[in-house]
């Protein structure tokens, strides 16, 4: 009975976190972007500084008509948002927030591989939507998504492999158990490569060529309306939470902090994740969109060599300290 209660409680916490955290990031983006651009942002919905704006948006999305274009491939078109969204829920389940066995929703032995594998599947949703929409802009968006994933998956994997080498394990909680403060300067190049590649995989600015609204009208999502479009947006913001949480766990020590006991570990995780999410928003406001060839060049000529150099450095230091 206790086990059942435990599982139910974990699932509930997971679901609430999955629904709330992306909205918090979204609202933070509204307000941060507004203030960085000398505006106020949403001010009315909910009363205090427009805190309920995204819920109002959600209600609006639910009320909209769900349209499937006449020429579209109906089933694939309707399935695509779920394929885009669900992987992030699965990843959130294994992300260790606090120390110990109870720190994450589910303990997975090969956590790093699980997380990267499942995150890669999410991109299939964009591809399916882009193809099934029967729209040239959508198809272009899908193509660019695929090209971007293929280019940035490699540096991301290599950077994660470097941490796994340093810790001697591919378990997320195992990596956190082995974390020392000096890993931070040691793995900093890998951390930057991982974060940048993750941003590109999420198609966040400045890597938002696949959804460039001024050229290909939001790419793969052009034909989507209502709740399905909202799912794609939710997937993007859930992706930000996941990427920041993952960077925190892999490179910034997760629940380790300069002070506070083990009981407060989750506060450190959330704090680091929030700071990284702020950086994601900040980058969106400060950088212009990169061109498609610049995107590919950055991945293949800068990030991959950097990641390989990080792996070499990790190997040398690892052998030296043994």
């Amino acid at each position: 009975m206790n086990d059942v209660l435990d599982v139910a409680l974990r699932l509930l916490v997971l679901l609430v976190a999955f629904l709330v955290l992306p909205l918090v990031v979204g609202q933070a983006e509204h307000k941060t972007m507004a203030h960085m651009q000398g505006r106020l942002g949403p001010m009315y919905a909910g009363g205090f500084h427009g805190w309920a704006q995204l819920m109002a948006d959600g209600v609006k999305f639910v009320q909209k008509e769900d349209i499937v274009p006449a020429e579209a491939d109906r089933r694939v078109f309707q399935l695509a948002p779920a394929v885009a969204l669900l992987p992030y829920l699965l990843v959130l389940a294994v992300l260790p927030v606090g120390p110990g066995e109870s720190g994450s929703g589910v303990h997975v032995d090969a956590g790093v591989f699980f997380v990267l594998a499942v995150m890669g599947v999410g991109v299939l949703g964009s591809l399916m939507g882009g193809w099934a929409s029967a729209n040239k802009y959508s198809l272009l968006g899908g193509l660019r998504t695929a090209a971007q994933l293929l280019a940035y998956e490699l540096p991301m994997l290599l950077a994660a492999a470097s941490v796994a080498m340093a810790a001697g394990t591919v378990s997320l909680s195992g990596i956190l158990d082995g974390f020392q403060w000096w890993w931070l300067p040691w793995q900093i190049v890998g951390a930057v490569v991982f974060f940048v590649a993750g941003l590109a995989e999420l198609q966040r600015p400045p890597f938002d060529m696949p959804v460039a609204d001024s050229e290909i009208i939001f790419g793969a999502y052009t034909e989507y309306t209502g709740l399905r479009f909202a799912f794609f947006l939710l997937a993007e913001y859930a992706g930000i939470v996941i990427l920041c949480g993952l960077t925190t766990v892999l490179f910034l020590g997760g629940w380790h902090g300069p002070w506070g006991g083990d009981g407060l570990g989750w506060v450190w995780t959330l704090l680091k994740t929030a700071v990284l999410a702020f950086v994601v928003i900040w980058l969106r406001v400060s950088f212009p969109r990169m061109r498609e060839d610049q995107l590919q060049e950055l991945a293949w000529t800068i990030l991959v060599p950097l990641a390989l150099a990080q792996i070499a450095l990790t190997g040398i230091v690892k052998v030296a300290i043994q």
């Binding site: 890669g120 599947v121 991109v123 591809l127 695929a146």
Partner: protein
């Protein structure tokens, strides 16, 4: 390699008597799930080759490959399962879809997906399947995985086996992949150098291979 073979033999011998009270008529829950997932996988695989819609074939392939990952998971090979998802579902199928979208990906039926080689393809597929099934059945005839014992397919066990017993095939495969990588780079560079405006830096490499041109290299 011999160490693993003896280990497998020992396991087989140990489980030979286990087979006696492990009939096929009283399957456990895991075995039932294994069978069901296997049926889904086979169904998706059949749909992959029979569907008339090109992109649907690629998407059914996702289901088939994902089903295989679940089967690995049920056989306690966790690491292999995630690698399967990462490489096949996450990269190979994305590459396939990319290629389809780049060339031709019509919505609806494509009449030219049926090739006249159907019977030959069927024969080759059946022969391959028969060979694989025969090899696997012959190798693991009476081997049972004890699910209650320590995990036999964890990352640690897989890594230890890979880098102790199987290190030579592993390295040989790495060299093969490296050769493929270098080959891909050489091919793409050569077609680039055939532009009239390009510098002639690739001239030494274009000995006999330059004659077929881009069509021949494909």
């Amino acid at each position: 390699m011999t160490a693993l073979t003896t280990a497998a033999l020992a396991t087989a011998a140990r489980s030979a008597d286990a087979v006696q009270h492990r009939g096929f008529l009283s399957p456990t829950g895991v075995e039932i799930v294994f069978l069901l997932v296997g049926l889904v996988t086979v169904g998706a695989a059949v749909l992959t080759v029979t569907t008339r819609q090109l992109v649907h074939a690629a998407l059914w392939l996702v289901v088939a490959l994902g089903g295989i990952a679940v089967e690995y998971l049920l056989l306690t090979a966790e690491f292999i399962a995630w690698v399967q998802v990462l490489i096949y579902v996450g990269s190979v199928v994305v590459l396939l879809l990319f290629g389809l979208m780049l060339t031709r990906a019509p919505i609806g039926r494509s009449p030219d997906t049926d090739s006249g080689n159907r019977p030959v393809a069927l024969a080759v597929a059946l022969a391959t399947a028969a060979t694989l099934v025969w090899v696997v059945v012959d190798a693991f005839r009476t081997t049972w995985i004890d699910l209650d014992q320590a995990v036999q397919g964890s990352t640690e066990v897989t890594g230890a086996a890979l880098f102790s017993s199987w290190v030579l095939p592993f390295e040989a495969l790495s060299v093969l992949l490296l050769a493929a990588l270098v080959g891909a780079i050489v091919l793409s560079r050569r077609t680039g150098d055939e532009d009239p405006g390009a510098p002639a830096s690739g001239a030494p490499a274009s000995g006999d291979g330059a004659t077929p041109g881009p069509e021949g290299t494909r």
